[in-house]
């Protein structure tokens, strides 16, 4: 187990390293740079700025300088705002993670419950309703949903203020973010639960005289959750880093919007910083879900 984790961590480092390499060079290959989107500045000012950000040096050297800084925990400063990238990422991640974490939790709990109910009440009205809503939720894009939520709850019903500088309400963005994963987990749980309920060991449990709730919660659910776990890990990484769409509609300064504005501004340090952060998060979540997988299903062996 320990050996496996070590191996995976090493592999993860290699993966992240390769990602930095690809991102750095493709980013520089796109036309434009941090300082030529602005209104024309004098060549002297531009040269001074480029010198400050090491942009005057050849690309490989720039990369080595960046990586050197990264190893010391320095992610550079934004070419747009001049603010420290690490601080910006930490701050906006806090916002995204709070909303994303709640959304992931909501999606997992509601999804598993709905999926189990649909499987246990198969071919009843409840099942049909659950299937209908989960199909609908997978089909509706998040920007449509987010807009509809804003329209109904903030404007028509006036329950929640559209925007509040002090105490921004997070219920609506959480719902908007959670809907798709909820629907996905619901369907995943249903299929997997139906499959598990037909397994021989469920019959064995019934034949032993185990009461139905215990058959379902002990014997079936644990096995049914195995595919759900493989989905939840990467989903968590995606959802925690925030969604640009949802964040811009609800005007939340999260990581998702920083990432996208970073790209449009050709804010090189920002692009690198957010990509690396996302990569690390993704790789970690995958590793965690694999370990949880092993704990739930003893048949899975490492190496």
């Amino acid at each position: 187990m320990a050996r496996y984790v070590c191996k995976r961590v090493l592999l993860a480092i290699v993966t992240v390293f390769i990602i930095t390499l690809i991102t750095f060079f493709t980013m520089n290959a796109i036309p434009g740079g941090p300082f030529n989107s602005e209104k024309a500045s004098s060549p002297q000012v531009r040269a001074a700025l480029e010198k400050r950000y090491n942009l005057d040096k050849p690309l490989p050297e720039q990369y080595i300088l960046y990586m050197g800084g990264l190893f010391q925990g320095d992610m550079g400063i934004s070419t747009k705002t001049g603010r420290d990238i690490r601080q910006t990422i930490t701050e906006s991640f806090k916002v995204s993670a709070k909303i994303g974490g709640l959304a992931a939790l909501l999606a997992t709990i509601v999804g598993v419950i709905m999926g189990s109910i649909a499987a246990l009440r198969r071919n009843t009205v409840i099942d049909r309703l659950i299937v209908f809503f989960s199909t609908l939720s997978t089909a509706v894009p998040s920007f449509v949903l987010a807009t509809l939520l804003l329209y109904f709850f903030c404007i028509r019903l006036d329950w929640i203020s559209v925007w509040d500088t002090e105490n921004q309400n997070i219920i609506l963005p959480v719902i908007a973010l959670a809907l798709y994963p909820t629907a996905y987990i619901t369907r995943l749980t249903k299929t997997s639960m139906l499959d598990v309920l037909n397994q021989d060991y469920i019959r064995t449990a019934r034949a032993k005289g185990v009461a139905r709730p215990k058959v379902i919660f002990k014997h079936a659910l644990r096995n049914a959750l195995i595919p759900v776990i493989t989905y939840v890990g990467p989903m968590l990484a995606y959802i925690l880093t925030g969604s640009m769409v949802v964040e811009s509609i609800f005007t939340i300064g999260g990581l998702g919007s920083k990432f996208v504005t970073g790209i449009t501004n050709r804010d090189y340090p920002m692009i690198m910083g957010t990509t690396i952060f996302l990569a690390v998060l993704m790789v970690t979540m995958n590793l965690i879900s694999d370990i949880v997988y092993k704990i739930v299903d003893p048949r899975i062996t490492f190496d």
């Binding site: 198969r122 037909n198 021989d200 064995t204 019934r206 034949a207 032993k208 014997h219 644990r222």
Partner: protein, 333 residues
């Protein structure tokens, strides 16, 4: 004659499917005496496993017993409340299944699953249950019981898992043990070991066994009484000697012709021609009619009634009726 522990009367079980109602068991009757072994033989789809599952009410969601009575010590278990039924399952009557590879839950340890059965039906503490689990594993011939309790099913061989299933089934010393093709999925050498173990345990614990199988060899070795099933009906029932030495139903005769003999002579095996009937579309007459070489006109029209062949030996075949009528006709003339 010892006491009847189980009396199944005119049992009907069917499954609702998209294609229609599948009548898997159509009026099966038999009884089981205390401490005896009953064999249920038949080919795939003959309703033998469904009969067994009907007794324990562990049919899949779309299956239900639609008629008849199952009397356990005189009480109709079909009238049991769900709670009484749970007390019956595992405690009074337990079952071992065909495939030991899939019958144990892969995500729980052997100890957990074994102790679950023990804790359900006896008033033991967790520690006592663990001791009992160890004792049971020793009883069924599993080596290193202490270590096995901590292992997961995938770490054990098929034969070992079947022993664990047996240990689980015996945890509360049931009155009846149903064995649903317990050796079909195992190697021949392991088969013999498992059958031997079951016989030994039957002597020790004194439970009655219902052995469901398609293997006549297993039946010959294990059973006192035999019922032969075809198309969800009993075609013949009687003692092992009656069935093997004086079969009175064409299907039973066919089955016996299709087993190889071991006396070294190279005889050609005679298979039963045709395929099993479609339970969705049951014929009007005898279910075996379309595959029977000696079928009569009446076989197509009417289901034969069960008739006494000799004391304790019953068969449902029109040919017997014909023979009897000819016999009495000759006697009369």
């Amino acid at each position: 004659m010892s006491e009847k522990i189980l009396d199944v009367r005119n049992l009907h079980t069917s499954f609702r499917t998209d294609a229609g109602e599948v009548r898997a068991v159509n009026g099966v009757s038999f009884n089981l005496e205390e401490g005896k072994s009953l064999g249920i033989v038949g080919e795939s789809g003959s309703g033998k496993s469904v009969t067994a599952y009907s007794i324990l009410q562990i049919l899949t969601g779309n299956g239900r017993v639609t008629g008849g009575e199952i009397l356990f010590r005189g009480e109709d278990i079909l009238k049991y409340t769900p709670q009484q039924m749970r007390q019956f399952r595992g405690k009074k009557c337990s079952i071992i299944f065909q495939d030991p590879m899939t019958s144990l839950n892969p995500t729980f340890t052997i100890g957990n699953q074994l102790m679950e059965a023990i804790l359900l039906h006896t008033d033991r503490t967790k520690k006592e249950a663990r001791d009992r689990a160890e004792e049971l594993l020793t009883l069924v011939g599993v080596n290193e019981p202490k270590r096995r309790l901590k292992q997961y099913p995938h770490e054990l061989s098929g034969g070992m898992r079947q022993r664990i299933m047996i240990a689980m089934a015996l945890s509360s010393e049931p009155d009846i043990l149903i064995a649903d093709e317990p050796t079909t999925a195992l190697d021949v050498t392991i088969q013999a070991q498992i059958l031997e173990l079951m016989q030994e345990l039957q002597k020790k614990i004194g439970m009655a066994i219902i052995m469901v199988t398609h293997d006549l060899g297993v039946i010959a070795e294990m059973c006192d009484e035999i019922i032969v099933m075809y198309g969800g009906r009993v075609c013949e029932r009687g003692s092992a000697d009656d069935i093997f030495y004086g079969p009175a139903h064409e299907y039973t005769k066919g089955l016996l012709r299709s087993i190889p003999s071991v006396n070294g002579q190279k005889e050609k095996l005679i298979p039963i021609a045709g395929t099993p009937i479609n339970l969705l579309n049951m014929p009007k007459g005898c279910a075996f009619c379309s595959r029977c070489d000696n079928a009569l006109k009446i076989c197509l029209e009417e289901v034969p009634e069960e008739e006494l062949v000799s004391p304790g030996h019953y068969a449902s075949c029109w040919l017997n009726v014909k023979k009897r009528m000819e016999g009495s006709g000759e006697a009369a003339s």
